[in-house]
């Protein structure tokens, strides 16, 4: 998967036609094999753009910041990224008319070991679901699956699972990199930072970290698109996907196979009411 040439062509065309102010893409990192995001504002920077199977990050994260919010933006999205973009559109965080979306029909990206990334192995929708221009051949919707780790975790009892998370979250340093890297964590003031939120406030004690991450995962339940930006950003290498993937699985099984961001105006299972929703918990 190398679409560098196509993306550079499209970007220069967009700049030439003055359709965009900023182009968000990937560039090669200077000192290692990884790629980092680049916000191209002048046509001269277009040759820096690159797209290979090392283009891992979800760029829609950069749409939530003030300097891109009301600008005309060109952006590259893979399947999972496009679902995040759908969520942002649905939740009125970006305006569709401000965007020029280059949808990649993704064949999967590589992890740091050079193997196909785990979320790509479980990917349900490798094709971009929202785009103005498409690159690559669509491969269609895949069967839903979860990895063994998540299945094992789900099989554990509630208490045991709680203990497991409490244990691994002891390594959390409350740097909030997960939140910053998440495209759907755009709140003006996160609930975790608020004075009235006594449960997670103040220190980086294990209990406050646990509560903060649990709250965070619930706020993303039914919205998370499994792009794993958070996991890549975490300096403590916490397996954050276990939280999100488990929520996703529960929602998939209980709420008519719901997956986040597949359609525009779908706010997620927890944000709408359907007659088919499970109600066996009501006495």
């Amino acid at each position: 998967m190398d679409y560098t040439k196509q993306i550079q062509e499209i970007a220069s065309k967009l700049f030439a036609e003055e359709k965009i102010d900023i182009f968000i893409g990937y560039r090669q990192n200077a000192f290692d094999d990884n790629q980092v995001p680049i916000l191209v504002t002048v046509p001269a920077d277009v040759p820096n753009l690159i797209f290979t199977d090392k283009s891992v990050l979800n760029l829609t994260n950069y749409l939530k910041f003030e300097h891109t919010r009301n600008k005309r933006v060109g952006i590259v999205v893979k399947g999972c990224d496009s679902r995040a973009l759908n969520m942002l559109l649905t939740e009125s965080q970006v305006k569709r008319e401000n965007l020029y979306v280059i949808g990649i029909n993704c064949t999967g990206v590589l992890n740091e070991k050079g193997e196909k990334a785990q979320n790509c192995l479980e990917c349900v929708m490798p094709d971009a679901v929202v785009y103005d221009e498409m690159i690559g051949t669509p491969s269609g919707k895949k069967e839903y699956s979860v990895n063994v780790d998540v299945k094992e975790l789900a099989a554990k009892g509630l208490v045991e699972r709680g203990e497991y998370f409490q244990e691994i979250f002891e390594n959390c340093i409350r740097c909030n990199a997960c939140r910053h890297s998440c495209p759907l964590c755009y709140c003006t003031k996160c609930c975790i930072d608020q004075e009235s939120a006594v449960l997670y406030n103040g220190s980086n004690t294990p209990s406050s970290a646990f509560h903060a991450l649990m709250t965070w995962s619930l706020h993303l339940a039914g919205r998370c698109v499994d792009c794993r930006n958070c996991e890549k950003a975490c300096p403590s290498h916490l397996p954050l996907h276990l939280l999100h993937k488990q929520n996703e699985m529960v929602i998939y099984e209980n709420f008519q196979q719901h997956l986040a961001g597949m359609e525009k105006d779908d706010r997620g299972a927890f944000y709408k009411y359907s007659m088919k929703d499970p109600d066996d918990f009501i006495m």
Partner: protein, 657 residues
């Protein structure tokens, strides 16, 4: 420093018997912020309230906790006590130690007491974070919507309109009148149903304050008390009422014959029809399901004979919108289908009919001209067996409740039968005779003595055919023997059931209904005409089976409630509404989608101080907000708080235990 007063009520023995009140007082006095902890036998009584008022002044209290019954019961009482003492009434907090403790933990006094103390601790902690709130006033739309044009709807509409309040009366069928228009004579005075009903129907049609929308249904109701918006679908009648004179040429010439619902399908009507001669409005409608012109595009005879050109086959359903302040629901009742009574041969024997079919037969404007006839051969029946409680009080086949009116109308039928066929004899099988009501018992006596109807206490076990007669076999429990009656006609007093559409209507209006489909009143004894949703009232059988006097009384009660609601230009409203902290709002608009009242709108504010970039945030319309808290729960950034139930208040409560 907060200064809280705690006032614990014995509620007579209701609380004191199961909660150790002196210990509660002793323990709560130890809470740091509590300045005084006082007990009294009835806190809601005047001396009790005086204690609160005195303590507020003497102890310079900053908030008050009353530990007593449910806030639904006396929150208003105590709030008033606070404002009388010069304190903001919303600084009151009620700890419900009756419903939540003493009543539910009657077997364990210690546990009940501990729970009561915890509840008070929470209330004290919450009250410290309570803020001063002020009532909101909301304008009222002075127009009532009455759903259903039977006697209940007619009475409610007339009473409201007589108070010079505009009413929109929506009726599903082409004419108002409802079930009462199908009746011949009414118990216990035997006055002619049509004679007392039709003047009221005409009044509805001519009343300057009533807008009658027949042949239509309410499809949407938005908003809240005083400010509802209703959408009404007016079904296409294919007759332009403005041109139609009601001459009747069309339905005389119409070649299509359809079973006549008004006469319980005993005879036929035409595809273009008025339900009955006294219909209001007296204009025909075309039954689209049967009209050959509408189905196959051929015929159109009615259009040819109509001199006024009132027939319009291209007419479409029309959506009418009305802004209204209150709703009266009067959708009436249906009759239970006696099919499960197989042992009676229901469906197999033509000469088994239901009471309403009998009613139509003995009715002067009925299909048989007022003389009962056997459906099988048209002969006048001499021996008629009436069987009561068909479906009613029958858990196995029907419903558990008593339909209330069957005892009375069966007695009436016995009398009417005697009036119409002098040499006839009525046998009535019954379980009990329930004749509570003014003149009711006398009326039943009249049936038993004057018309010599034979009342047999017992159930009928079987009906079978012998020649052209029906043999009714049952038990006479009073003599303990089996009896068999050779009957010409059997009349089943079928149960009253809630209209099939009631659950849908309830969902549409946002009110509750019971397991039978009857719409639920707010309180069975003290608020029998209100629903749990403010501004929606119930009249007639839609709430429970009842007779005409009760229905009319309830309809008038609804009218009184509506008039009371509309007595001022504005309505006071609790200030327990949501507030958006725009600083925290990220404009995801999830609150907009979850709000069941459409109370949340969006507005644009600058991105930062002095910034030219704008961002969208949510804004609550206080008049519309009902304080349900859905938006609070959905808001991830905790930008919405419900006044009176803010996050600091709730967290205080949690931390207190």
């Amino acid at each position: 420093m907060a200064r809280v007063g705690v006032f614990t009520c014995f509620c007579g023995a209701n609380i004191a018997d199961f909660v150790d009140v002196p210990r509660v007082v002793e323990e709560t006095r130890k809470i740091r912020e509590v300045r005084c902890s006082i007990e009294y036998k009835y806190m809601c009584s005047d001396p009790g309230q005086q204690m609160i008022r005195d303590a507020i002044v003497q102890q310079r209290l900053t908030s008050v906790v009353v530990a007593a019954c449910s806030p639904r019961m006396h929150e208003k009482t105590f709030r008033k006590a606070l404002s009388d003492a010069g304190m903001n009434p919303y600084l009151l907090e009620v700890a419900n130690i009756r419903e939540h403790s003493s009543w539910v933990h009657q077997k364990d006094k210690k546990a009940a007491t501990d729970k009561a103390i915890d509840l008070i601790r929470m209330a004290v902690a919450k009250s410290i974070a309570n803020e001063q709130l002020y009532e909101i006033s909301v304008p009222v739309t002075k127009r009532a919507l009455v759903i259903g044009g039977g006697i209940a709807g007619i009475q409610a509409a007339l009473d409201i309109a007589d108070a010079r309040i505009p009413v929109t009366l929506v009726e599903k069928s082409p004419s108002i009148g409802g079930r009462m228009a199908q009746l011949d004579e009414t118990f216990p005075t035997l006055d002619c149903s049509q004679c007392i009903l039709t003047p009221k129907m005409v009044d509805v049609a001519s009343h300057p304050y009533i807008e009658l929308i027949p042949y239509s249904e309410v499809i949407e109701l938005d908003g809240f008390v005083g400010n509802y918006k209703a959408k009404i679908r007016k079904k296409a009648s294919y007759v332009n009422f403005a041109n139609c004179t009601g001459c009747g040429a069309c339905w005389q010439k119409c070649p299509v014959k359809v079973p006549n619902e008004y006469n319980m399908n005993i005879d036929k009507r035409k595809a273009i029809y008025t339900p009955f001669p006294q219909a209001v409005p007296n204009k025909p409608v075309i039954d689209a399901a049967h009209c050959t012109m509408l189905l196959k595009g051929k015929c159109g005879i009615c259009a040819k004979v109509c001199e006024k050109g009132a027939i319009d086959f291209k007419m479409q359903d029309e959506i009418i919108e009305r802004e209204i302040g209150a709703v009266v629901v009067a959708t009436g009742y249906d009759l239970w289908d006696p099919k499960p009574y197989e042992e009676y041969g229901v469906g197999r024997y033509k000469d088994i009919i239901t009471s309403l079919e009998f009613e139509r037969m003995v009715s002067a404007n009925g299909p048989t001209g007022g003389v009962p006839q056997r459906p099988s051969d048209g002969k006048v029946p001499k021996t008629v067996v009436f069987i009561k409680c068909i479906g009613s009080r029958d858990e196995a086949k029907g419903i558990e409740y008593c339909s209330k009116i069957c005892c009375m109308y069966t007695a009436k039928h016995a009398i009417l039968l005697h009036h119409k066929v002098h040499d006839s004899h009525a046998y009535i099988f019954y379980m009990d005779i329930r004749a509570a009501g003014k003149g009711y018992e006398e009326f039943v006596k009249k049936a038993q003595v004057d018309t010599a109807a034979t009342y047999l206490r017992g159930r009928v076990s079987k009906i079978y055919k012998k020649g052209d007669k029906l043999m009714v076999r049952g038990e006479d429990a009073q003599i303990g023997q089996l009896v068999e009656v050779e009957a010409d006609l059997v009349v089943l007093a079928t149960a009253i059931i809630a209209p099939k559409d009631n659950p849908n209507l309830a969902r549409l209006l946002g009110i509750s209904y019971d397991k039978y489909g009857y719409l639920s009143e707010a309180h069975p004894k003290l608020r029998p005409v209100e629903t749990a949703k403010a501004g929606i009232f119930l009249a007639g059988c839609t709430q429970a089976p009842k007779d005409i006097p009760d229905t009319v009384a309830q309809a008038s009660a609804c009218a009184a409630k509506v008039c009371g609601l509309f007595s001022g230009d504005t309505m006071k409203k609790d200030p327990m509404v949501s507030k958006v902290n725009t600083e925290f709002c990220s404009g995801c608009q999830n609150c907009v989608t979850v709000c069941p009242y459409g109370a949340i709108v969006t507005e644009e504010i600058p991105m930062g101080h002095g910034s030219k970039e704008m961002r969208v945030v949510s804004k609550v319309n206080e008049g519309v907000c009902q304080g349900c808290g859905s938006c609070v729960a959905i808001c991830r950034s905790m930008a919405i708080n419900l006044s009176g139930f803010t996050d600091p208040q709730i967290i205080n409560e949690i931390v207190a235990i």
